[in-house]
Symmetry: C2
Subunit: 203 residues, 2 copies
């Protein structure tokens, strides 16, 4: 921290330095009012310098968002890597990993779905998001193949899962899923309810 004192980026990788600095701001400043000039300031360069490495502000944000999706997918995938578990357990582990990522990185998570990083649906961002969605689809296919989950259109079930975890994250970040409002451990309760909608009735 405080790289500015060492004047480190006179030559080289300002681009990476800007990304790192911005990531830190995203992690630390809960109050999400991201400004390019402040990133430049913290990186120890003039406010015009970033424009040599990014065409505009949205471009830097988009870069951060993409990295966010990569990290989200990696963490969610890691949560289900022990393949021996049941689809139910794998589902729960993946869903909790997703939600925890969102709650641990509220500003980043908001950014990932914010229009400020570019049209999420139409740009590369959409591709990243869809790739993250792939984890869910694999999980659902596994559950259906083993007979644990109902035989339904996987894409519809995936829409349900993604909407649920996304909703949980956003409402949690906004402080609307606190126990006093909506009962103890609303996150687990919500995921349990969804899971029961996915599962096939006991034979």
């Amino acid at each position: 921290m405080n790289e500015a004192l060492e004047r480190p980026y006179h030559h080289g990788n300002l681009r990476q330095a800007l990304i790192d600095t911005a990531s830190e701001m995203l992690r630390d400043d809960k109050g999400w009012q991201f400004t390019l000039r402040e990133v430049a300031r913290r990186a120890g360069v003039s406010h015009a310098a970033p424009y040599k490495h990014f065409p505009d502000k949205a471009s830097l944000l988009s870069e951060l968002a993409q990295r966010g999706f990569e990290q989200l997918e990696a963490e969610t995938r890691a949560a289900i890597s022990p393949r021996q578990r049941s689809a139910r357990k794998a589902f729960m582990a993946a869903a909790l990993a997703y939600v925890e990522f969102g709650i641990r990185n509220p500003s980043l998570y908001r950014l990932m779905f914010s229009a400020e990083a570019g049209d999420v649906a139409t740009t590369h961002l959409g591709a990243r998001a869809m790739s993250a969605l792939g984890v869910v689809i694999e999980l659902l296919q596994r559950g259906q193949a083993s007979g644990e989950f109902k035989q339904r259109a996987v894409r519809g079930q995936a829409a349900a899962c993604w909407s649920m975890v996304h909703g949980i994250v956003v409402l949690s970040i906004e402080g609307m899923l606190h126990p006093e409002k909506v009962g103890a451990d609303p996150i687990r309760a919500a995921l349990e309810t969804l899971l029961e909608g996915l599962e096939a009735p006991a034979p």
Copy 2:
């Protein structure tokens, strides 16, 4: 429209005029970059005039958000007013009304859950949101009383329902629930899945 030509607010209700103008901007400008100066401009007053009626920008936004929650609750409630229906049908109708409100008013919906309108959880806003949540809770209690829904903690089920509809709205607004990505009518599919998690197995 174009009220400015008639110089209508020289005397009276500039406060209301600002709210109306801002609401129109919210409805029309898909690209959500709300500025107080533009509201003043469209209302035909100087950029300093709003400060005689609202302490700051967040205050106007908060007012708009509160009205949004009122409208959302009213529309959701209206969708289930024919009391004779089954809990399943009432639930589906209410959920679809909620989701359609969000999709019809994307900027307003975003604002309602955005930190720009003040801390959603801690201010009056939170109260409005909780009041809107009341519709869901009544519905769940009805379904449990009639035996249609599983006997579970209503607050947990409510968390599931709210997270689901909220997630559906946000992902839809962001263009991530389009048929080519996630199958035909992902909204109904997602709500069906949730509903099956709520319902008691057939006796």
